[in-house]
């Protein structure tokens, strides 16, 4: 009775080694190719988002400037509510604002009210801007004469968040 093993010819030690090496090499090359593919995909994605971010930031920038011009002509006795919506660079932006009036003493011991407004711009999704959506946050000072007319605006702070 034969058990099968005895009928097999003796094998060389390196029998089939070249094929194994080739398979190993192909696996290595596949890994390198996969890494390159991931790199290319990542680069392409990054460059597209670069332009999206630029368009979004300049749209938000324009929206805040637009809001400043609108608030500028408002009666100072009424706090602005904003909620202005604009579109630029194919991006819809909403600007909300809040009053941040500060009071300063003048040289002749009078009290001067400084009209400061904080503007926040975010992508317009129909609701008020949430903190984690804010693209630009700006605090603007509206220099006023006694009759309330704004003579000049000053950007006190301007932060671009995303």
């Amino acid at each position: 009775m034969s058990c099968g093993f005895a009928d097999r010819p003796p094998r060389d030690g390196d029998h089939g080694a070249a094929l194994l090496l080739a398979i190993g090499f192909v696996l290595l090359v596949s890994a390198i190719a996969a890494a390159l593919a991931a790199l290319i995909t990542s680069s392409t994605s990054n460059s597209i988002s670069l332009e999206e971010i630029r368009n979004r930031q300049y749209a938000a920038d324009a929206a805040v400037h637009d809001a400043i011009t609108k608030v500028r002509v408002l009666d100072r006795s009424t706090p602005p509510t904003c909620g202005y919506q604009t579109q630029l660079n194919s991006v819809d932006i909403r600007v909300d604002c809040e009053n941040a009036i500060t009071v300063l003493p003048s040289n002749d011991n009078q009290v001067l009210g400084q009209r400061n407004i904080i503007f926040v711009a975010c992508p317009d999704n129909g609701t008020a801007c949430q903190a984690d959506e804010v693209i630009i946050r700006a605090q603007v000072n509206f220099e006023q004469r006694f009759d309330g007319a704004v003579t000049r605006t000053f950007i006190q702070s301007w932060s671009v968040n995303r």
């Binding site: 070249a18 680069s43 392409t44 929206a63």
Partner: protein, 123 residues
């Protein structure tokens, strides 16, 4: 001494190995070429973005101190190989009650023109 039925087996293996390795090396070179082209494209786009932003900031700077109705001039020199245009080309500072939309377009040495709209206002 090798048995007769093993004759030529190594040659077959070597030939298959050469074919497989050739295919793998060809694929690797193709992938490297694609990666190089992609990296160059990405670098070009990043540089284009920087030029567009430079021009946008130059436009905004030009109105930083202007008075309504006064002309303003945009100081900008495009890098070699780039061309840039601004619409409206001759700027006049807008009234304080409105912003002015300026469209800028930068044409890189290779690739599509980049277009961006920015708003300027009289402070």
């Amino acid at each position: 001494m090798r048995e007769r039925r093993d004759a030529g087996e190594s040659l077959n293996e070597v030939i298959i190995t050469i074919v497989v390795i050739s295919l793998a090396v060809t694929a690797l070179f193709a992938a490297l070429n694609t990666a190089t082209a992609s990296a160059k494209s990405h670098a070009d786009r990043a540089k284009n973005d920087a030029v567009v932003r430079d021009l946008a900031e130059a436009v905004k700077n030009s109105t930083a101190t202007c008075e309504a109705g006064d002309p303003y001039t945009v100081q900008f020199t495009a890098p070699t190989g780039y061309s840039a245009s601004i619409t409206p080309s001759s700027g006049v500072c807008p009234e304080v009650t409105a912003v002015q939309i300026v469209t800028i377009e930068v044409t890189p040495p290779a690739g599509n023109p980049q277009r961006l709209e920015v708003a300027v206002r009289t402070p």
